[in-house]
């Protein structure tokens, strides 16, 4: 088969192979028949972007917390009573980049797909895409434009390449029109895209 051609039953074969592997690993005692489902349940309910959204909402209403998040991210996360108690796999050392009227932050990983699991869960496909990883390093404004985000030329863009053991995320700016919102109402506005810097948090639509 030509290198650039996909087999016609690409996805059916992928699915069959993944299930075959899982079945064999269960039979051979490597994992149990519950292992994968239990892992997925943790990412659905305990380690996910719902945690990051709470962090951002708290930072918006509590300036002292926002300052701590910027200066000692792990100490701030530890105050949140997340299931991982302020650590967790792929979140042992996290760092927040705070957006301001002068600076827009963008997180990338040019070597792989490093992502802060305990507060953001698992990376979406756009983040893992080699084209994004390559282009965001050199032409972030153009890339953000493709996401529908035009960053004013007067605003500095800082791109952070997660190439060592620190897992980065962005604290976006609080949108207008949210005066008097509770932390829960604010958290509901925050997306994973905003917490990695390819979006901003939009004002609520009413």
């Amino acid at each position: 088969m030509d290198r650039f051609e996909y087999s016609k039953d690409r996805e059916a074969t992928n699915a069959a192979r993944a299930h075959a592997l899982e079945a064999l690993l269960i039979e051979k005692g490597v994992i149990t028949s519950e292992t994968v489902d239990k892992i997925m349940a943790i990412f659905a309910t305990e380690m996910g972007p719902f945690n990051g959204a709470k962090l951002v909402a708290k930072a918006w209403v509590d300036p002292a917390f926002k300052k701590l998040l910027a200066e000692d991210t792990m100490a701030a996360v530890a105050q949140m009573n997340f299931p991982t108690k302020g650590a967790g796999a792929e979140g042992e050392h996290m760092k927040a980049a705070i957006n301001t009227p002068e600076v827009h932050n963008l997180i990338i990983c040019t070597l792989c797909s490093c992502y802060p699991w305990p507060i953001l869960g698992l990376p979406p496909y756009w983040y893992k895409d080699p084209s994004f990883r390559a282009r965001a390093a050199r032409e972030p404004r153009k890339v953000l434009g493709e996401f529908g985000l035009d960053v004013d030329p007067s605003k500095e863009i800082k791109t952070w390449d997660s190439s060592a053991q620190i897992r980065w995320f962005v604290v976006p700016e609080r949108p207008p029109g949210t005066d008097g919102f509770s932390e829960d109402q604010l958290a509901a506005l925050v997306t994973p895209e905003a917490m990695m810097g390819v979006a901003i948090v939009k004002p609520p639509v009413n």
């Binding site: 690993l25 005692g29 892992i39 991982t84 796999a89 496909y125 080699p130 390093a137 972030p140 996401f147």
Partner: protein, 240 residues
């Protein structure tokens, strides 16, 4: 040189994917879960032993080594979790947990008719996986020596021989940057990368680069590039 190490700045690529899903096919969750279980059951972790028959080491470094060893055309051709499926299946065959014939035969079975998954296993295995996810694997250690560089120092990025796995982004090799932040303590890496230089505990720095030094005349304005780099990848900027 491996293309996978040099993605930063590559030109001529497609518009950005706007796919916000984590998994685009249901089977991708299965291979992700298998990988995560392997990391959690990996033998070097200081966690309670379980009845799992998994008795070798598997970390991100092993997964990344596989991706970095791929033909670069295949790297771009296959979707993210397709690469995982290939690398992880290959590992289980290479380490003798399963045979390729078994895997192929079972794949055919699942392909031809829906088959029930086997049931069973010891709950202690899943308990360890949960413990790993909740506590992680802290790479931070005491500093074996004071950091070589201070915030504000100019540094030149080293260019060690290309090996099977690195955490040095290729677009930064030989470039001059400025130390923006010296992280507290020291960090180990998941494996020893040999002449590439990382593995044992060493300081890690956030280094600031002018994108115009990285891609002269071919980048954007009012933009700063930062990368976290292990000390082994840095030299004083004055060194020739």
């Amino acid at each position: 040189m491996k293309l996978q190490h040099y993605l930063g700045g590559l030109e001529g690529l497609d518009p950005i994917s706007l796919e916000t899903r984590v998994f685009v096919e249901a089977w991708e969750e299965r291979i992700f879960g298998i990988h995560t279980a392997m990391m959690a059951l990996s033998r070097q972790l200081d966690l309670e032993t379980t009845p799992s028959t998994f008795n070798t080491e598997w970390t991100w470094a092993d997964l990344r080594k596989g991706a970095e060893a791929m033909n670069p055309f295949d790297y771009f051709k296959f979707r993210y979790y397709e690469k995982w499926l290939g690398g992880i299946s290959g590992y289980f065959v290479a380490r003798g947990y399963i045979t390729q014939a078994e895997l192929d035969a079972r794949t055919l079975t699942f392909r031809s008719s829906p088959a029930a998954m086997p049931k069973g296993g010891d709950a202690a295995v899943d308990a360890r996986v949960r413990t790993y996810l909740m506590t992680g694997d802290d790479p931070k250690r005491e500093r074996p020596a004071p950091p070589r560089f201070a915030a504000g120092s100019a540094v030149r990025v080293a260019s060690p021989k290309s090996v099977d796995h690195t955490r040095l982004p290729g677009h930064l090799r030989n470039k001059i940057g400025v130390i923006d932040n010296v992280y507290p303590d020291a960090y180990t890496y998941l494996c020893d990368t040999g002449v590439d230089g990382i593995g044992k505990a060493m300081p890690v720095y956030c280094v600031r680069f002018d994108p115009n030094d990285l891609w002269p005349g071919n980048t954007e304005t009012n933009f700063t590039f930062y990368a976290d780099l292990f000390e082994a990848y840095l030299e004083p900027a004055t060194a020739s």
